[in-house]
Symmetry: C4
Subunit: 303 residues, 4 copies
Amino acid sequence: MIRASDSKIDSKFVPTPPRDLPTLLGRPPDGWRARMFDVIFGNDTPAGRRFDIVLVVLILLSILVVILDSVPSIYSEYSGVTSVLEWGFTILFTIEYIARLVCIQRPVRYARSFYGIIDLVSVLPTYLSLLLPGSQVFLDVRILRLLRVFRIFKLTLYIEEYTRLGEALVASRRKIMVFLSVVLMLILILGTVMYVIEGPDNGFTSIPMSMYWATVTITTVGYGDMVPHTPVGKAIASFMVLLGWGILAVPTGIVSAEMTSQKMSRHAPRGTPRQCGACGSGDHDPRAHFCKDCGAPLAPATE
Amino acid sequence: MIRASDSKIDSKFVPTPPRDLPTLLGRPPDGWRARMFDVIFGNDTPAGRRFDIVLVVLILLSILVVILDSVPSIYSEYSGVTSVLEWGFTILFTIEYIARLVCIQRPVRYARSFYGIIDLVSVLPTYLSLLLPGSQVFLDVRILRLLRVFRIFKLTLYIEEYTRLGEALVASRRKIMVFLSVVLMLILILGTVMYVIEGPDNGFTSIPMSMYWATVTITTVGYGDMVPHTPVGKAIASFMVLLGWGILAVPTGIVSAEMTSQKMSRHAPRGTPRQCGACGSGDHDPRAHFCKDCGAPLAPATE
Amino acid sequence: MIRASDSKIDSKFVPTPPRDLPTLLGRPPDGWRARMFDVIFGNDTPAGRRFDIVLVVLILLSILVVILDSVPSIYSEYSGVTSVLEWGFTILFTIEYIARLVCIQRPVRYARSFYGIIDLVSVLPTYLSLLLPGSQVFLDVRILRLLRVFRIFKLTLYIEEYTRLGEALVASRRKIMVFLSVVLMLILILGTVMYVIEGPDNGFTSIPMSMYWATVTITTVGYGDMVPHTPVGKAIASFMVLLGWGILAVPTGIVSAEMTSQKMSRHAPRGTPRQCGACGSGDHDPRAHFCKDCGAPLAPATE
Amino acid sequence: MIRASDSKIDSKFVPTPPRDLPTLLGRPPDGWRARMFDVIFGNDTPAGRRFDIVLVVLILLSILVVILDSVPSIYSEYSGVTSVLEWGFTILFTIEYIARLVCIQRPVRYARSFYGIIDLVSVLPTYLSLLLPGSQVFLDVRILRLLRVFRIFKLTLYIEEYTRLGEALVASRRKIMVFLSVVLMLILILGTVMYVIEGPDNGFTSIPMSMYWATVTITTVGYGDMVPHTPVGKAIASFMVLLGWGILAVPTGIVSAEMTSQKMSRHAPRGTPRQCGACGSGDHDPRAHFCKDCGAPLAPATE
């Protein structure tokens, strides 16, 4: 039982292998659809890699166009150009989306997956802008498509780190929830107190406004658009900023402790703990060939 | 004695079991009061759970009403509605408070407990508002009643985390007090220096104002309502912000160290603690072959 | 040699005992000076404790008077009262200072010690205010006399924590110096770049002003009295705030690592590592009486 | 191969010895060039040390002149003096640069090294100012020459810390890249959302402006030059500041964990590393009795 729980802990630190896309989405057995699948979903062949790189460049360019289009001085002069480009990118991505649906056996599974939804949402705003002018700014959501970049460039080490970061946050989620709920209660109560003390004359026009101020204060942002004017209000604000500044130590401590312990665990020997068949002692170096206590040969670690 | 203190340290990491409410508050032996007790204080029966969930919803709704009531545009139109709702919630909570007092054997113990006081304070502002108009904003204090939510939803894992967070802060309290007293001395001295350098013409009208500025600065909030104008003042302010930015590392380090060490202690090999068959002592090295206290042979660790 | 270095590391964590004041300052052998010494410097007798408590209260009151005196509305009405009180406190503290000098054998040693200088500086501003009106605000420096409070109330646990905090900072001093020098170079270079880009028209009137802005920005204070106006300046400012926000992790990491390692070291068994006389194995529990490897009796740990 | 990678990991914590400059740059065998080399590049002889100290002072003075020259009140009165001083420093540093090139065997290697480029860039702005008036403010880059100070004063302990800091950051680079890319995506998406919600009327004139605001907000800087005005915008801003405040825990946790683990590794028992007399392998458990690689008996650890 001890070993079972041990290996459970260990397995947490073993990064999950990249999903087996051909099996998941259903690679067509043969023909042009299979070749298309290899180009679009694969990243082992030169053609697959080239496709991925072109895609990343197009995504970045299309976001750049959206951003530039929002700048008044550029919009007033080049709105024709950016409009054409936006439609061009959207049509390209629409074709790509349809191609993805066509070349797999299980299009519904793809359409309902995280990336499938992102891919759809990345083209919709342009079409929507025919009905709702201005909605094309949401094309920015295309940036999320870049999350694929980790897979595209086979950045497995990055995926591992990404997984570890996520694990540390997941492992701390309960502590963070508790911390956050205490902070939110503080914001509600201190915001109300400041609303009473400062009042509408000093800009604290309602409890929601006061809570906005309390949030901006306790997180040490301090825009300065709302500031206390009464002596008592300043005293409470001083107390709040000291509090917010200090309790920032709490989430930091939580994540630090989680990551340190994760790091330490990885330093510890993994694998199935080996026991010496002759004397029964354990705790052997994973690379040991002989028992350190009695000198008898050890079975290989991978068995 | 050494072992006694040891087990005291260990017990720190064992979460305290939820207080045995029936014993503490005195569940009436039988009759309608006992049934009422099970609904109000219990959370094992369907009725008890339903009561708790309704209570949480009512608390959240009543807070929402208080918040909305403070928004001028809503108040001017719906002040009649919110007033009625506030009185409704207050009367409901008053009935609940009385019911809690009635159905237990030791009402004084409840009335003087943390939750008893919160429950009372949660209804008082509405009654007070008859004498002191405006005091009903303090109904917000009802949010503290939600601390019960941890118990209500049997979120024992959250209670455990909550306890651990508290433990880490309690264990660091002396370090944090020392840190805080040093920071407060810095604020007093640097505030005074800035009062002398900048003077009333630049907005530093008194030492308390300067201390408010020093607090806002050293915590990196920086509202911008008071800023140094003289070159020397700017130099001192630069020094202060660097100092405040840097020493934030101190409380963070304190809490991180505490939490890491707490976490490590829990990670230490527990397995089945081995006991000596001869003298009964525990806490043996997992690799020990003989009892460290009486020298008798120990059974292997894997048994 | 290993053991020697070990005990050196351990001794770092043993708080230094409070200095032996009677020996250091020279307690007079007998007579009224010896009795006065016991009252003023001692804290074992009821009279000594009472003297210390009165002193703490007087210090706090005298600081309160200085702070209140700086508030215009109080000054305009009560300047006579506060002036009298200030002179009263100053004369009391002057008498105390002289008494301290009189009742010890080595007055020069006291006068040149940290507390001796603080005690002198705590009374000078009032006398100076006869020549330089306004200099009495520096009476605030009296707060530093409160550092004595740790000794006064025998808060030895606090002294220990204080020592540990100091140790952690001292142990990290080189890392912190390196970090600070890199940050200062960044402030100089980025400040110069912003001076060139934004120029005097946008408030960046000189390199020192730009460096002040860079400091306020990189530490995430952000008063808002100087902000970039050009697009390039905003881009650089965005980069700087991300940098400053992120590198805050460095000093925090330094102090956290130091404190965690300090904490872990204290958890580890201390003392002379014991070896079994029979089989030579080490690494025994400090409380073990028998060798865990061969069962032979162990010599006591304190030998 | 396993052992090779092991020793590679260990060597990471051994500070690299200062580069053997005479070999790297080619000390001339004899004559005046060799003597010049010892003065300019060496720091063992009194003359070499004196040269280094004079250089540090000159660098600091020349930066001070650049900074003061940018202050309008000083410039208007002393522009003649500062101009002369700037030219003087520049000519001195030019001579030094040429001398460095002359007295070594491999001048190209020096000219293309980090310090060689810094040395050249430190004199160019003054000459450029003949063509481009105002470019002399970039003389500030001279501060980077001070990085040499670590070598000059034989601050090897500082070099070690500097190396460790760098190692911790390098070891965390992937985690930090992942974190940063997620933060940048958040800034793009939340900036776009705020652009849509607040609009040009409230100062969010374009997506780049909104992204600037999002950066300033999520890093808790909060200048206050752009603030949300609509209720929905304030709610989103509140969410963002809480998020930014909280996720600051992530890079801090990364660096803390890295440094703690680095520190622990150095704390781990080293003692005399034992080698197997039979096969020569090292890295044995301090408690091992037999070689884990060949099974031969090991000498006791204390020998």
